[in-house]
């Protein structure tokens, strides 16, 4: 007969805990069903990886926890933060300026269904901005990639019905440049 019940109890207790740990580590959901990890969000904001998602907005909507982490991350890492504007209802914003960055929308004469979004800065950039992230007034996240800047300026062509254009014009939208 066993003469050390305490040892056996401890061993079995540890075995039970070990199986519990194994159960927690068991791969259940496929990677595509998991919320984005903080590592992924960080790599994306830092420009270390391209967008790992087909639809950024859809992912942020599906995982509000990840969206909250993303927003806090972008706020701590952003080159410029454009807060909500106190414009009158119905006003559409075409220009935002903050922390040395100027964003402006201009309609295209050649293509009336398109606009130009210009990003200008007079800051001596040690690191080039790669994205504009917009959190619209209705909490949708939109990302716009910034092409390489020349002499502190870059320009993006968008259609009038692009969600980014609509969101840019909303006084309640918040923008970040990273």
């Amino acid at each position: 007969m066993t003469k050390s019940p305490i040892e056996m109890d401890l061993a079995l207790h540890a075995i039970d805990a070990f199986e519990q740990a194994n159960d927690l580590m068991e791969e259940g959901a496929s990677p595509s069903e998991l919320r984005p990890s903080f590592t992924t969000l960080y790599q994306y904001v830092q420009g270390l990886i391209n967008a790992p998602w087909q639809d950024f907005h859809q992912v942020m909507q599906q995982y509000p926890d990840a969206a909250a982490d993303f927003e806090h991350l972008i706020r701590t890492q952003a080159f410029a933060h454009f807060p909500e504007l106190a414009a009158a209802a119905g006003d559409s914003i075409s220009r935002r300026e903050q922390e040395g960055y100027l964003l402006s929308l201009a309609a295209s004469i050649a293509a009336p269904d398109q606009v130009y979004l210009s990003i200008e800065t007079n800051i001596d950039l040690s690191e080039e901005p790669r994205h504009i992230f917009i959190k619209s007034a209705d909490m949708a996240w939109i990302e716009i990639k910034i092409p390489p800047m020349t002499n502190g300026r870059a320009q993006i062509v968008l259609t009038n019905d692009d969600p980014a254009v609509r969101a840019f014009g909303q006084p309640g939208a918040v923008l970040y440049i990273r």
Partner: protein, 302 residues
Amino acid sequence: MTVTVFILTTKGPVRIQRISEEELGVQSVICLDGRAQALPISSRYDAFVRNPTGIIERATGHGAYRMDVDRMIDDGDSWQLGVYLAHLSENNTDQDIYVFATGEVDRELRVRPVSHISEKLDQAYDLMRALQREVKRVRVFVPHDNDLELDDCQGIEVDQVSHVDQMFDLLGISPSKSHVPKGAEVQHNPDKLISRRILFWAFPLLLVVAWFLWTPISWMGLANNGKLLELEETMDEGSASFIGGFQQRLFFLLQDLRAHEPKMPELVGKMITAANPQACNAKSGAQVMSWGCRDLDHGRNL
């Protein structure tokens, strides 16, 4: 009648579909087929258009354009020759011409060599021949390069050019005036353009200078004629103003500059020796030694 421009690339010819003006605050952009998709070379196109780096604005007077092309151009600057032609040749010929071009264009409008010309031509021959079969007028322009061998161009005539003017001459067209600001003529020679601008700004300046100088010159005239009283009155009238003070200083400076330099006096003397020494004691109108100085300063005798 139109000039249709194709840019020669290693992935096939790219047709310039249209060029439109945009508001001056907008960066010039090349978009794909009318879509909201800017090509990666857009920033270089903007530099090619806008002063002071660019040459399009200098030629057309407008600094912001949108160009649409039918295919992607990824990189490099060899699109410049075709783009320059497209900007400057709108509706400027009496027949349809299809131009295929590759080359960089510098600020003096010289056409600089580029790479992969044979490869670019190979990619375009099918289209060129198809156009020729439709009895279309086809011209091909590449940079002049002594190392380039164009023996086998598959029946297509290829012209090597070293300046954009040669291209326009060979096409038999003059650059479009549709975008030229009123009152200015299109100048292909940048040197003439510069001297004309200098003249344009110099003439009013000359008028101002002439007006400023007239008063001191008129005072000098009065001084030369000895009309000192009139001179004094006129100067008194002008001394009160700010410009009058400067004019007076200028007058005196001119006077100083005109004044004769005093010459060294020329001394002439005679020595008369008395035959009798006692004669020198007599107080009579005995002749004394006379000294005369000519060219006295201001007419005064020494």
